[in-house]
Structure formats: structure tokens, C-alpha cells
Symmetry: C2
Subunit: 190 residues, 2 copies
Amino acid sequence: MKRKDDKKVTQIFQAALRLVAEKGLSGVTMGDISREAGIATGTLYVYFKGKDELINALFAACRENSVQVSFKGYNPQIPFKPAFKNIWLNILRYKLQHFEEVIFMEQCYHSPFITNDTREKALQLSAPFYALMERGQKEQLIKQADVGLLLTFIIGAMNELVKQTHYSSITLNRSKINTAFDLCWDALKA
Amino acid sequence: MKRKDDKKVTQIFQAALRLVAEKGLSGVTMGDISREAGIATGTLYVYFKGKDELINALFAACRENSVQVSFKGYNPQIPFKPAFKNIWLNILRYKLQHFEEVIFMEQCYHSPFITNDTREKALQLSAPFYALMERGQKEQLIKQADVGLLLTFIIGAMNELVKQTHYSSITLNRSKINTAFDLCWDALKA
DNA sequence: CTTTAAAATGAATATATATTCGCTTATATT
DNA sequence: AATATAAGCGAATATATATTCATTTTAAAG
């Protein structure tokens, strides 16, 4: 017997991401995805029950990936500011390299495709970020404001930065990245 | 003879905004819009050539509105920081009160509906914001970084703040708003 | 009050898209 | 090597959606 091919799921995801980033969620059909992935339309239905399931699975996969990558190299022994900068850079790098995911996630959030269940699970993955900010507050390094507010501020600014970078084809060199981090840090610091 | 009804355009726009904010751009049909607006589907085509034209017109209208409102009460005589805060609050208030527009604009940006021409025109309306930041730099009050970067940071953070506020049904009281402004100002200040 | 031209209608049509299904092909297992 | 079983296919089908159009309603103009 033949087995399902893990690589094919990756192909399908990549195709969907590319297309959504290019045309928006509303402009992408199952036919488009299969063509871009280099497989038959029917094959999509071997891997996913339908469009809804495909989109939800991709959403969940993107979210997990991005959280995973964020804390790479994190060690509570390291002083807060460099540890925070490391995470901030991890996220920024990830988003720049996976721009399509940024757009995809944004487009999905307000769409009939994503189920509440999927949304819930994505939210739960944010816990480590809350914990990080609380550490910074305990050490009196960052403002004693609502942690959700602080995170919102940082993530919103970064997302917009990533989007603008792609729209305007500005290259985000090391100097600009450091400036952006300084804006972020100056905003947070107590 | 009968005349076209300006109020009807507003109804159509409001209906489209409500629906897109609720279901996302991909989940909204011309039938949905006409039903929500309380008119027949055919009537939509009296006012707009088709879905594309409707979406582009709404996008342009939203953008114009929001820029218009931002500078309400601006006067170059007023010192920079309070003038800036006034504009920042104008934008925040507008976005909170017109949440649907925030979602609609975001969903539109990466979609096949919006034409390059529409996108261009929207961009041109940003000129006054660039000028404002340059004033702040001349007066040595804010960082001498790329103005685009500074604006990106502010707007991104604010958009996310507005979205999070709605998702989590947190009420953004005066104290939280001031905290958010302080984050923003501390990020910018020289 | 009548005329007239355009708005308004919504069922009918055209089009686009998701999904299914009978068939073929590939590959694990024996 | 033979067999079995699921993947892979893509044309056909079902469904959803945009758009048109013959008809009715509305209100401005004479």
C-alpha cells in the first residue's frame, strides 16, 4: 500500500501561504492551491477534508512554528535585557523570513474559516510571552503596566514593521533593526 | 425622474464594513451586502459597477475619513508634544469607534480587489503624518531615525491595541490610554 | 395631474469554485 | 513477483456567487 507523504503537506502549506500572501485569502481557490503545489485538486482532499480544515491546520502550524522559534536560545540565567533582545530578534527574523505567514495569519483572524477552537489554541501558546514580561517587571526593568498592553504594543509595532519592509522593498539593515529595537525598549523600560 | 440616493451609498458601505469585520473579506457576498443594507441585489449594481468597484470605493472612503479626522484641532502654534498627543488620540478614538474600518482596511491590503491606483492614492494621503514627525525632529524632541520607521512603529502598535481591545472586550479606560500614549512617546522621544 | 427617466427589484443566467468519484498508479507487505 | 491498499488523478458534479435584465416603482419636471 501507498503511504501519505509528509512532504506533500509541506508543499500544500507552502503553496497556500504563497498564494494568500499574493492575492489575499479571498482570492485563493482550491484549484489555485493544487496547481501551485503541483498536485491534482482531488489530492488535496486526500490530505484535508476540505478548505476549512486545510486553512485551520495551516493556521495552527504557523502559530506553533513561530512560538517554537521565538524562545530559541532563551535561558533564564541570562540578564533580562539581552535575553529579551534575543527573543525580539528571533521573532523579527522569523517574520521577515516567513512574511507569507504574517499575512496569512492576519487575513485569517477575521475570516469565517478559523474556528473558535483553533483561535483558542493559538491564544494559549502566548503564555510564555506573558511570563517573560512578568519577569521583566519583577526585576523592575520594564513598566508596571498591563502585560497584555505591553505585548500588544511590541507585537503590533513589529508586524507593521515587517509589512512595511516588504511593501516598500526597503532593506532592513542592522542599523535600522537596532533603531527599531531601541524604540521598543525605550517604550517598555521603567 | 428619480435621483440616486446618497444615503444609500452610506447604507451599502456600512453594511459591507459590518460584514467584513464579522466574517472577513472572503466570507462576504454581494447578496450578503444587499441583504444587510436592506436593498435588492440588483440595486448594488446601480451604485457600483461590480464588487471590485464597491470595495475600492469603500477603501478610498475609509482612508480619506481617517486622515481627515486625525488632524482635527491641529495648529502648528501648539507645542509639539501636546499637538502630537492630540493627533494620536484623534486616531485612536477614530479607530476604536470605527473598528470595522480597521479590519476592513487590513483585510483589503492583501487582496486582489484593491487596485494599485487605489493603493497609491491611499499612500499619498500619508504626507501630513510625515511632515508632523519631521517637525518633531527639527525641534529635537523625537529621535532622528527614519520617519517611516517611526510612523510604522506608532501605527502598528495602535492598530494592534485597537484589535486586542475588541477581541478581549477589555475596556480601554483613560488610564490605560495614557499608559499606551506614554509607551509611544517614550519610544519616540530623543 | 401627467409624463418621463431613472432607480429599484429579484428571479433568471452566467460564472466560478468546492467537492466527489470512478479510475489509474505507486508502493508497502507477503 | 504477486497482491493489496491507499495515494493520486482530473473530469464531472454540485454548489455558491456575481451579474444581468425585463419589469415595476418612484419622484422630479412640465
